[in-house]
Amino acid sequence: MLSAEQWGVVALSLKIAGVAIGVTIPIAFALAYLLARGRFPGKVLVDGIVHLPLVLPPVVTGWLLLLAFAPDGPVGHVIEAVTGGTVLFRWTGAAIAAGVMALPLMVRAMRLSIESVDRRLEQAARTLGAGPGRVFRTITLPLSVPGILAGAVLGFARGLGEFGATITFVSNVPGETQTLPLAIYSKLQVPGSEHAVVQLALVSVALSLGALVVSELLARRAGRGFHVL
């Protein structure tokens, strides 16, 4: 079984991935909606920027985050002025890294779903007196649920596994930023810790399987009747 310390790592990982994904879901959905439906100049640019964390090596993303959030960096400066604190070496920073890295995956999945919503249904809703806001809430959003769930699972899994950006951005601080991947990495570097590596890796696997199962159940429930499948 896991030691108390290892349970701490697990709890911290869940907190970081959970907060990261919770905060990122609405942002990702807004971006996905914009990209799926919007027509504006520079759309490809927005698309490209959203994909950046995917294509940039994680360590570079981490490095850019570090530049931005360092006490004298543009964002870090503002955060320091407003809250008096910093996200460097804090779990909040790890959550930012996880969210940023998960964002492109979430946007893609959600976008795919939004694009497959039949717009004639939205028209029908409008003839029934629903304004754009209500149409969005009652038609577009619920019909995109498969993509939102897929995006959330992908994002959560990616967040749980996030390594390169995290270690570069907020380093490896036990109890604060040492998530499962960082703990595994640390163990991997110490000869003779294969047992601990395997243990923690199995926990990672179990957590992601759990997320998968939950999402499948949610999907089944949400789509109770309406899936064509």
């Binding site: 490095w63 570090l66 530049l67 360092a70 006490p71 004298d72 460097l88 070496f89 270690i167 570069t168 907020v170 380093s171 490896n172 601080v173 990495y185 640390s186 991997l188 570097q189 110490v190 000869p191």
Partner: protein, 230 residues
Amino acid sequence: RGPLVLAAASLQESMNAAADAWARHGHPRPVLSFAGSSSLARQAAAGAPADLFVSADEGWMDYLQKRGRLAPGTRATFLGNQLVLIARAGTHGSIALRKGVDLAGILGRNRLAMASYNSVPAGKYGKAALINLGIWDRVRPKVAQADNVRAALALVERGATPFGIVYATDAAASEQVRVAGIFPPSSHAPIRYPVARLKASTNPDAEGFRRFLLSKEAAAIFRRFGFTTR
């Protein structure tokens, strides 16, 4: 193609210079792969077909030797280094690294950048030194671990942490940091870089380059970057 050399991250510039010199003698230029010694040792231990391994401590070389991955009789220690405390360039003051020095107090809410202290050589030396100074327990909660010594250096360069522990050669390589204190050599095991040829090596040039690294010419190059040589 030249031999494949797995080299500790702290050898970045110096090993490149040595490879260039070797190439100037008319040999194919060696191919260099840098990372923390621990990561490299893992790959070599799996039997990866590299030619030379240069570690930043004896421990990882022992690890490979125990697994029978070294070509017998090819292991040699050829470089030494110093451990220093660095601060960002442009700051002032130095810290005398004596027993009981209040490093934790100086850090305040800030952190100390180090390479991973249970695995990467630079981190292991640093931890040993802080233990020796009797301040490890108070400093440990403030440590930010990076995955090799150069990544720790980068944390100080970026201003993410005010102080870091790296080798003297790393401090010399960067214009954005300065040495704020030198760890007494007695506070940690001597910093020594062993080289060895791997059993999986097939490149005919490998042994030649290994010998070159032990030569006077190479020693001069490494000294230029701040290493001590035998």
